[in-house]
């Protein structure tokens, strides 16, 4: 039967070319849309490496106006008083780049004999702990680290994998420009830009408070904290710094708002993709209805020769699906060139998105084609054989 169907398809190639072309383009469109969406969805739901919930950032400018000794004292007092509030679990100063603030700082060089780069964030000894950075090995910074001979650094696992052999990195030295850092901790993940980016090689260094490197206070609050705690923090700022000029950013909200910039195109693509699929499905449906109604005589003959309804349905659905299969095979071969030839710059994780997109497109089109083929085929098979022959 399969061979019979393949012969039919081949002999009807004139009319099948159109179907083939339509399904091929449909596959390519679904592939592109789903690759884009899968990439972003997976990135969004892959771990940040820390708890975003219940993290607040307290920003103020007042301490910047102080000279460096007063600055350090005022900062320490502010941190102590904030920590003393009910509902505050921990606090640490953050430098260079606050998560989801849209800014990042990248540093790199070839001092180690190969091109190395990392985005850097800074903080005081409590910063990593307050973020809740999950360490796979090593430790957070401590007070003693300020007096260490070599500056300490916490890296993410990505650095270890991208630039080294992925093994333990504790106590290894990183050279960057004139500076040297000793690795004290390795974080599982650190992502902090907008939730959609692939993870970068990222590291955390200890800020030098006397040089005013970290001004913003990152605060981990108890779950459910709200305006009351904000007001309490405001009173602390006023008592310590004699200013009402400050603001509090809730990181979770900041993240949602910055993510919106990426959600918008994703949703637009999804809507366009869905619309296209619907259109193609409707078109397919119409074409198949037409084709099958043109083949009523054939249906009548087959029925007279002893085909039962199920065999008619099976034949038509398989005929159409095999054409779709051929079109999708071409699509898959083309789509596979992207990761195989490395047409886009991406690592294995990003390439795996392409494989998922190929699989997804294949499944979706299979469903659409079989769905669209089934109803007209069934309609044809339900024709009374005498009538089908009569209408030839």
């Amino acid at each position: 039967m399969i061979k019979h169907i393949l012969k039919l398809i081949w002999n009807r190639k004139g009319s099948n070319v159109l179907l083939f072309t339509e399904i091929f383009f449909c596959f390519i469109v679904v592939f592109l849309v789903s690759a884009f969406c899968i990439k972003n969805f997976r990135a969004y739901f892959s771990p940040y490496g820390y708890e975003v919930e219940n993290l607040w950032v307290l920003k103020q400018q007042a301490t910047n106006l102080l000279d460096s000794t007063d600055f350090v004292q005022a900062q320490e007092m502010l941190k102590r008083e904030i920590l003393a509030l009910d509902g505050v679990e921990s606090a640490g100063f953050a430098g260079y780049a606050i998560p989801f603030s849209g800014s990042m700082w990248t540093n790199g060089g070839d001092e180690m004999g190969f091109d190395f780069y990392t985005t850097m964030i800074g903080g005081d000894e409590d910063y990593a702990k307050t973020m809740g950075i999950e360490l796979r090995e090593g430790r957070y910074f401590t007070e003693d680290d300020y007096r260490a001979k070599v500056e300490p650094i916490i890296i993410n696992q990505k650095i270890s994998e991208d630039f080294f052999d992925g093994g333990s990195m504790i106590d290894s030295i990183l050279k960057l420009g004139d500076a040297e850092y000793k690795i004290v901790g390795v974080a599982e993940n650190i992502r902090y830009r907008d939730g959609f980016e692939d993870e970068y090689p990222t590291s955390i260094i200890l800020t030098k408070q006397a040089e005013k490197e970290a001004v913003d206070l990152l605060v981990r609050v108890a779950p459910g904290s709200g305006p009351e705690l904000e007001q309490a923090m405001g009173r602390v700022v006023f008592n310590v710094l004699k200013t009402e000029d400050f603001n509090i950013t809730i990181l979770q909200k900041q993240r949602e708002s910055i993510a919106r910039d990426t959600w918008v195109p994703i949703i637009i693509f999804l809507v366009i993709g869905t619309f296209l699929i619907l259109n193609i499905a409707l078109g397919l449906f119409g074409v198949l209805f037409y084709t099958i109604s043109k083949r009523k005589g054939e249906i009548g003959v087959r029925r007279a020769m002893g085909a039962h309804r199920g065999e008619i349905i099976r034949q038509f659905v398989l005929e159409i699906y095999f054409v779709a299969l051929a079109a999708m095979a071409l699509g898959v071969v083309l789509a596979l060139q992207v990761p195989l030839l490395g047409l886009i710059e991406a690592d294995d994780f990003a390439h795996s998105n392409l494989y998922y997109a190929i699989g997804f497109s294949f499944l979706l089109i299979t469903l659409v084609v079989i769905g669209c083929a089934y109803w007209p085929s069934r309609q044809g098979a339900n024709l009374h054989p005498a009538l089908a022959l009569h209408e030839e």
């Binding site: 039919l8 002999n11 003959v301 007279a304 020769m305 002893g306 085909a307 039962h308 005498a386 030839e392």
Partner: protein, 222 residues
């Protein structure tokens, strides 16, 4: 072999009701070659379709091979058509997208117990029997009307049915081709003992069969 009892057939459309057959009683014996004649629209095709289980009577009984078939479900009638019946139509009804040999093997395709190799052999045999052994890979459009009808006959006999139902098989053919086709049917009937019911417009063809039945406006007149 075929036993039609009090069969009537009414076609209903939204506007009109056509009485295509009215109280037909007809017996066809095993090995008989029967022809049916009558003016156009008198119900000949309808009667043949009812005998061939591709149409159902509005009332009355149909018995084939001693079995009442009115309670057969669609799967069972399909099976019966496949194994016991061969159809030949005025307009051939070949599938134009299939080669001659693929057209001929069609009935065997719906027999799960026949292998592809057997199908090929049986189809080639049936084609040879109608003198078209060298036309296997042609397409219907490359054949003359007479050749097409011979392909259709090969298709009708490939499954070795007990009954052949032919609806004006020579109606679209010139007289020489018609005679050739008729001769094949006669040989089938004589050599294989196949029961044949043939609708025809041609008195000459009807003369060559064992018995003639005439229909007029849905009723049997002879």
């Amino acid at each position: 072999m075929i036993n039609i009892q009090n069969v009537s057939k009414v076609y209903r459309t939204d506007t009109i009701e056509t009485l295509a057959l009215q109280d037909i009683n007809l017996q066809v014996a095993k090995g008989e070659f029967l022809s049916i004649m009558g003016p156009s629209g008198c119900g000949k095709s309808t009667l043949l379709n009812i005998m061939g289980l591709i149409d159902e009577p509005s009332s009355g009984q149909v018995e084939l091979d001693g079995r009442g078939v009115s309670d057969y479900n669609s799967r069972k009638t399909a099976r019966f058509r496949n194994e016991q019946l061969g159809f030949i139509f005025q307009s051939f009804h070949l599938i134009n997208d299939l080669s001659v040999i693929d057209n001929v093997e069609l009935p065997m395709l719906y027999r799960p117990d026949v292998s592809a190799k057997q199908r090929k052999e049986l189809s080639a045999e049936a084609l040879a029997a109608v003198g078209l052994a060298n036309r296997q890979s042609h397409f219907p459009s490359q054949l003359s009307g007479g050749q097409r009808q011979r392909v259709a006959i090969a298709r009708a006999v490939v499954g070795k049915p007990n009954i052949i139902l032919a609806d004006e098989p020579t109606g679209n053919l010139d007289s020489q081709m018609g005679d050739e086709v008729m001769q094949i049917l006669i040989d089938l009937n004589e050599n294989m003992g196949t029961t044949i019911v043939m609708v025809t417009h041609d008195e000459r063809m009807a003369q060559k069969t064992h018995r003639l039945v005439r229909l007029f406006d849905g009723t049997q007149v002879v």
